[in-house]
């Protein structure tokens, strides 16, 4: 059990945890009640993945930390999620753009992790693959409906695709932990997922009569090393405040 192994799994877990936190914000704020339900469901799936993966990280570390210790008692610099998932909620179109990319990424990721030498990770991947298949479809349907809906929705959906663009490259960065986890057969190199993800998204975007935006003027970096964007600190303040206000309590 190397540190890289735990770090790698922690990156997977944090992506799911932080995006679940953002998706939870949609409950009571969605454009229709069906979407309160759907986004809540997707958030719940991600939260479930995060819990299983965090528990696994705790086992790998062997220091007795459970899922809550890892979620509530780490500082910002110890979180390994990409910037994409920590960005504040935009409009519904932007959320669907984020979800389409993220679920497509997770889809390729979990498909590759089915054969992880870490059986717990492989088990999570098997269950999660079905979930993210639905997430990806759900986002895809909305991207198409909005892209090919009204002139306003077309414009907004295009703007949503542009807004998430700078955060995509980071998903496919091969960080230290993933290099070593891939070598060990535990993980997969993010860069190897890139083409399949882009291929899937491109088909959806084309059907939606939208344009896949060109390369961004800038790109996010460093989430996997705990270098986050400024919204992350506020997200963690909200996530952790009550738990940290009652040290040692059970809930």
């Amino acid at each position: 059990m190397s540190d890289a192994h735990a770090s790698y799994v922690l990156g997977l877990a944090d992506d799911a945890l932080i995006y679940a936190q953002r998706l939870g914000e949609w409950l009571t704020r969605a454009p229709q009640i069906e979407e309160d339900l759907a986004l809540g469901n997707i958030g719940l799936d991600l939260l479930g993945q995060a819990r299983a993966l965090l528990t696994r990280v705790g086992e790998l570390e062997g220091e007795g930390r459970d899922e809550d210790d890892l979620a509530y008692l780490r500082d910002e610099r110890e979180f390994r999620n990409v910037h994409l998932v920590e960005q504040p909620r935009g409009d519904f179109g932007q959320e669907m753009a984020r979800l389409l990319w993220f679920a497509s990424y997770q889809h390729e990721l979990y498909a590759a992790l089915l054969t992880s030498s870490d059986e717990v990770v492989a088990g999570v991947a098997a269950k999660a693959l079905k979930e993210v298949d639905y997430h990806r479809d759900h986002a895809g349907h909305w991207v198409v409906r909005l892209g090919d809906g009204t002139p306003e929705s077309h414009e907004r959906m295009q703007a949503g695709l542009e807004a998430v663009l700078p955060y995509l490259a980071e998903l496919f960065d091969d960080d230290e932990a993933s290099l070593r986890a891939a070598e060990a057969g535990v993980g997969v190199l993010p860069s190897t997922l890139h083409d399949a993800v882009v291929a899937h998204v491109s088909v959806v975007v084309a059907e939606a009569t939208l344009d896949l935006p060109d390369d961004s003027r800038w790109r996010s970096r460093g989430g996997r090393e705990g270098v986050h964007s400024q919204p992350m600190g506020y997200l963690l303040a909200e996530l952790q405040h009550i738990h940290r206000s009652h040290p040692g309590a059970s809930w």
Partner: protein
């Protein structure tokens, strides 16, 4: 008249009225109003609990809470669908919610101040709701009765989860115990108000329809009867939790075989109902903002569906 006779026959035989059946206009209107209010309560009722999703103190509780709030969205959907069988549509009902023509349960105009409130809402508010709703599973209108059966099953699950939150707190640290007691203090009286104004006396609703609604099989018990049942069920649960209910007059009445309880502040009830509660403004504004922000999405979905339908016709 034939319609009325047929309808009276069904009601008299304690049979279900179905959407295809002719029914008196008063019955239809009453049901629409009641089902809509019930649906609105589910939707507005998501807010006080959603307020704690981002801050839930453990991941397990966060997951349970998200699932619960989501269930409430689901209940809202069943109930709007039940209302739609009576010839209105959801958009129209939502408009009436947003502009204040239709109401929702006043309990949701209270804020959730601490995590314990997520517990108290499950235990007391869902508990009171179930008390109100179980009789509706036998309501004369079929689609409503069937929606209620499904809702009640999930609500009793939520009620147990709420109890469990408080149970953990009241067996926890001093701060957690205090938090649980504080939540019980704040939610007890508003929960009793959920059964509506008293059946008689000064604070009774002017021009109430209880009798008619009972005759129609929409209402089976009076407000005060349901309230008493709720008190009788809840007091022992509070004892189990080690929580004191904030009513010095609460006492077992051997003779009546019921728990006596103190006078309810009906002024507060009417005040909050009329708009001067701690969160009335906020709840409606939150709801309206979500609806308005989502208008372009709903329009796009309709436009896309129309295009798709047109394509299908051509093909």
């Amino acid at each position: 008249d034939v319609v009325q006779e047929y309808f009276d026959g069904l009601i008299g035989a304690d049979k279900r009225i179905e959407p295809r059946d002719a029914m008196p206009e008063g019955y239809r209107k009453t049901l629409i109003r009641q089902i809509a209010q019930h649906a609105h309560s589910e939707i507005i009722g998501m807010q006080p609990e959603a307020n704690w999703i981002s801050r839930a103190p453990s991941l397990r509780r966060k997951a349970i809470l998200m699932a619960k709030v989501q269930d409430e969205a689901g209940h809202g959907l069943y109930l709007y669908s039940a209302a739609e069988t009576l010839g209105v549509d959801r958009e129209e009902l939502l408009d009436k919610l947003h502009n204040g023509q239709q109401k929702y349960s006043s309990i949701f105009n209270y804020p959730t101040l601490t995590w314990a409130d997520a517990g108290a809402i499950g235990w007391l508010v869902d508990g009171a709701a179930i008390m109100n709703q179980v009789p509706l599973c036998r309501c004369s209108y079929g689609p409503y009765a069937r929606a209620m059966i499904r809702v009640c099953k999930e609500e009793s699950f939520h009620q147990r989860q709420g109890f469990e939150i408080l149970w953990t707190l009241s067996n926890g640290t001093e701060a957690q115990k205090a938090m649980a007691q504080d939540a019980a203090n704040r939610w007890w009286w508003p929960s009793l108000m959920m059964f509506g104004p008293p059946d008689t006396g000064e604070a009774a609703a002017p021009g109430g329809h209880t009798e008619q609604n009972m005759a129609w099989g929409i209402k089976r018990f009076s407000n005060d009867d349901l309230r008493q049942k709720f008190v009788d069920m809840t007091v022992p649960q509070a004892q189990k939790l080690g929580l004191t209910l904030p009513d010095p007059d609460l006492a077992w009445n051997e003779e009546r075989g019921h728990w006596d309880f103190g006078p309810i502040d009906w002024d507060e009830f009417w005040r909050v109902l009329k708009g001067d509660g701690p969160c009335n403004e906020q709840r409606i504004t939150h709801r309206r903002t979500a609806h308005e922000d989502g208008a372009w999405v709903r329009e796009a979905a309709n436009a896309y569906a129309a295009k798709a339908a047109a394509k299908q016709e051509v093909a």
